[in-house]
């Protein structure tokens, strides 16, 4: 079976700064991929390029057998690529239900096939909130949420678009160990429901327990790709994280 997402020779520059260079990456359906690397190694830039928030300079991206280079972000979301943002970006003036209504109206209902009625959308929003334990705050505004709840909302909103591949960009940064466990549980359950997940994370314990494969970025280049334990034994990885 061909991979769900295939990236070949991806490169991105900001002026003279090379943010990404020659990135090759394949993600299979159903995988749990961990993407790690020190600060500024290009993880978020990669996610931005893949999801269409930024446009890459070189290389090509294929999703589900279809070239998606040059497609605007909303089209990629409709194809089934979803992301959560590193810093939560809720729609601040909308309550939690309406926050999830946006991707349902603009992604799920924009796809060919059955359209959800208004009632069905409302039910789906509540079910999604219930999945992440926010059902009792459905009518609240995002400003009433705690940090961990905000991350959950961010995840729920990404999942609302019924994606096939989800990029979870540092969803656990700054959370306590028990909160990390909560988010990991949510992610594992999503994966069991058939969503392929790419986890971008600094918390090694979380990455190691979640991922079936690890990709390491250092200074815009991919230096390791393989089983988690193996990837960590890579000498370049040690140098990047621990110094010489």
């Amino acid at each position: 079976m061909p991979p769900l997402l295939e990236v070949g020779g991806l490169g991105k520059r900001f002026g003279g700064f090379v943010a990404l260079e020659g990135i090759d990456l394949a993600v299979d359906t159903g995988e749990r991929l961990g993407l790690i690397g020190p600060n500024g190694s290009g993880k978020s830039t990669l996610v931005n390029c893949l999801c269409g928030a930024l446009h890459h300079d070189t290389g090509n991206i294929t999703f589900d057998g279809r070239a998606i280079d040059g497609l605007p972000a909303y089209r990629r979301t409709r194809l089934g690529l979803a992301r959560s943002f590193q810093l939560p970006k809720p729609f601040r003036s909308l309550n939690l239900v309406d926050n999830l209504r946006i991707p349902l109206l603009y992604t799920v209902n924009a796809r060919p096939g059955a359209r959800l009625s208004d009632g069905a959308i409302g039910e789906r929003c509540l079910a999604l909130l219930d999945d992440v334990g926010l059902a009792d705050k459905a009518a609240r505004l995002p400003r009433d949420l705690t940090q961990v709840e905000m991350r959950k909302l961010e995840l729920a909103r990404a999942v609302a678009s019924a994606p096939r591949l989800l990029f979870a960009d540092e969803t656990m940064a700054g959370l306590s160990p028990s909160e990390v466990e909560e988010i990991l549980l949510v992610l594992t359950r999503l994966n069991e429901q058939g969503i392929t997940i790419v986890l971008i994370e600094h918390i090694m314990r979380a990455v190691m327990s979640f991922s079936t494969r690890l990709v390491v970025l250092v200074a815009g280049q991919k230096i390791a790709d393989g089983a988690p334990q193996e990837a960590m034994r890579n000498p370049e990885f040690e140098r990047a994280y621990l110094g010489e």
Partner: protein, 315 residues
Amino acid sequence: MSAGKFWGVSFLAAAALLVLTRGLIANEYFFFAGYVVLQYIVLSTAWNILGGYTGYTNFGVGAFFAVGAYSSVVLHKLTSLPVPVMILVGGLMSGILGFGMGYLTLRLKGVFFAIATLALAIVAQTLIVNWDYVGGSRGIYVIRPQQAPLYGSYIQYLYSLMLILAWVSVAIARTIERSRLGLGFNAIRDDELAAEAGGVPTLRLKLISTTVSGGLMGMSGAPLPYYVTYLDPASSFNLSYAVNSVAMPLIGGMTSWVGPVIGAVLLGTIQQLATVTISSALNLLIVGLLLIAFVIIAPNGIVGLVRARRRARLR
């Protein structure tokens, strides 16, 4: 209330207002002043579609308004079309201008967008000043038909047209607000990146917003030549249109269709009263003072004030 029902109920309200005012009020000046207040309901409602719902501040209101007015001048010289048709043409022209402005400023946000719209107004004014056919900087006289269609005076006729326009624009704003489109506009206002990631075609929605908003502004400007009978660039492009169109939704509340209506009725009426009783120069001073007061005391406008009180009572 469903969108269809709102159109019906608001139509009845507008019709009742029309019949009552024209039946009970004999003073011509009422219609002269009422026209301006209604015009501001249209302008501020139109402004709020882009500024309040979508989050893009447009300071180029004068350009859209004047494009509507000057398209009527051109039609007046070339044809003898009735005013309602001119209103539609004016709306079309400024709708096109809105689309063009949206397209050229897509990458601009916040204050940069606002400056660009201000620049647009200046460019448009310069073009009109140098266009002799519509009077250039001298301005132009537009002779009203002696007889108003239907019955009553010509001012009453224009007042009636503006009332219909106010009804249509408020109903459009309310329909957008409760629709998928309106939710998409709100998403853009709150966070454009997140909106795009949620599948919202931000580019297309912004263009819809600038086009609808611009079109309605032009429609409100189209009858102006017949109202003032003498039109010149300095007054038709006046910055006070922009200031008022921003101030009214801000004072009334920007999140709901009712905000701009409250703001326009309140501020428009105060301005008309002040013009008659104190002085015509006092208008903008009143706007300025009210604006400062509201930004400090009630940043979410009167609608926000009422909502906060209702929420407090529920707790």
